[in-house]
Symmetry: C2
Subunit: 218 residues, 2 copies
DNA sequence: ATTAAAATTTAGACTAGCCTAAAAAATAAT
DNA sequence: ATTATTTTTTAGGCTAGTCTAAATTTTAAT
């Protein structure tokens, strides 16, 4: 029904406003790595298909059916990421690019059988929640480690930044989903943080790292 | 590198002449369900990329690199078919259409990990051999049941016709890869065959069915 | 050897999806 | 309230991949 390109636009709009606020043409062009003029063209097509609400110069919003479609793509993307890691042994830094292709495979039964095969996972390898068959999706849990308090025991539940280079950096410290972290202290000067990983080694992270890690207490 | 469309053309050429004979424009148009004029256009593009040898009015042949590329697609297609049946539980009548999409996913490591995950299968759900990483592929085994002799014990190793309707017809008789068949007799009038399935029930098949079943002795 | 038929290519057109450059509208600054 | 800046849209252009209709070439039939 929808082309890969259309699906990428819908997903991008959803990512920018999971709660269906208005999104600007430039913001879309930015994350799609495309020119604003191209975005305007596509927005007209999506509007003609009633997948978005679009008034010139006013930004766009997903319609109910557009949001449903976007969540289908997100669901497929995240399920495939789980498959790639759990079944094929890819690292969390490798799964995204391949899932970008796999998310466009069209077959409802494929998606549902995959979900079943994977044991109905709740989150993907980056801790992001996986929408269910009906498009229901849990809200992201966790706070930024950068907003955490000293001495509180935390567990990593997700990442904000998804770039392979960041993920591999975390790998190099043995940090992944489920890793226990505690803040030893926060340096007032540059907000860098001293962290104890898994109750063992203590290391220093920049604020940049701390505000890209999602954690929950306990 | 190659587009999905280009890949489909290369695969179609390979299917028409696995041994790299010349293929006609019309034959390609036929199996690609496209117009000859469109095929001519694409042949020029493939020739420019040195994937085929093309002389106007003379038909086309795959070059070594074109054949390699074609076999990569066939490898991916057949591996995904195995995945869909073995891991997700799809029937052999359902896997082809989904594999038509999955075969275009680009990632060498994905293909190789999938192969490993599946236990390096030798044949796909229809009995067709799966090319290895280097493009080596076994020649099809088996003879047509229609060419078989009475009373010889045969085992089904493949199908010629791949249509879901034919495959489901076989399902309805409990016939799949590995099923034991014996020809009780061949009717001289219309070449219909009386067959014993798995040494149990005996049924009558048209010649049409018999020449779409591949079997080997014993 | 001509002529007829079939196969193939060429010519011209269309859509999707992108682009650049210019125009228009909205927003921010004076 | 103008003017300047930023955002967005319009206009026109390009490529890939398809199509129809017409021309050309090859093959088959007389
Ligand atoms: Mn991802
Ligand atoms: Mn993810
Ligand atoms: Mn197939
Ligand atoms: Mn097959």
């Amino acid at each position: 029904m929808a082309t890969s390109s259309e699906e990428n636009y819908l997903k991008a709009i959803w990512k920018l406003t999971p709660d269906s606020e208005a999104v600007s043409t430039n913001a879309l062009a930015e994350i799609l790595a495309m020119r604003p003029a191209s975005v305007t063209d596509m927005l007209k097509k999506l509007a003609a298909k009633k997948l978005i609400g679009y008034k010139p110069y006013q930004g766009v919003k997903l319609t109910a059916s557009g949001r449903k479609k976007a969540l289908e793509i997100v669901r497929k993307h995240r399920l495939w990421e789980v498959f790639l890691r759990d079944k094929l042994g890819f690292g969390w830094d490798e799964v995204h690019d391949i899932a970008e292709q796999l998310e466009h495979i069209e077959s409802e039964s494929l998606t549902d059988r995959l979900d079943h095969f994977l044991g109905f996972p709740k989150v993907d390898p980056h801790g992001d929640p996986i929408p269910d068959k009906d498009g229901k999706i849990l809200s992201d849990t966790g706070i930024l480690l950068a907003h955490g308090t000293v001495k509180t025991p935390y567990v990593v539940v997700g990442v904000v930044e998804h770039s392979p280079v960041f993920l591999r950096y975390l790998d190099s410290y043995g940090i992944g989903l489920g890793t226990l972290l505690a803040i030893d202290n926060i340096e007032a000067y540059d907000l860098s943080v001293k962290i104890t990983i898994n109750k063992k080694k203590s290391v220093l992270f920049s604020h940049e790292v701390a505000r890209n890690l999602l954690v929950t207490e306990q």
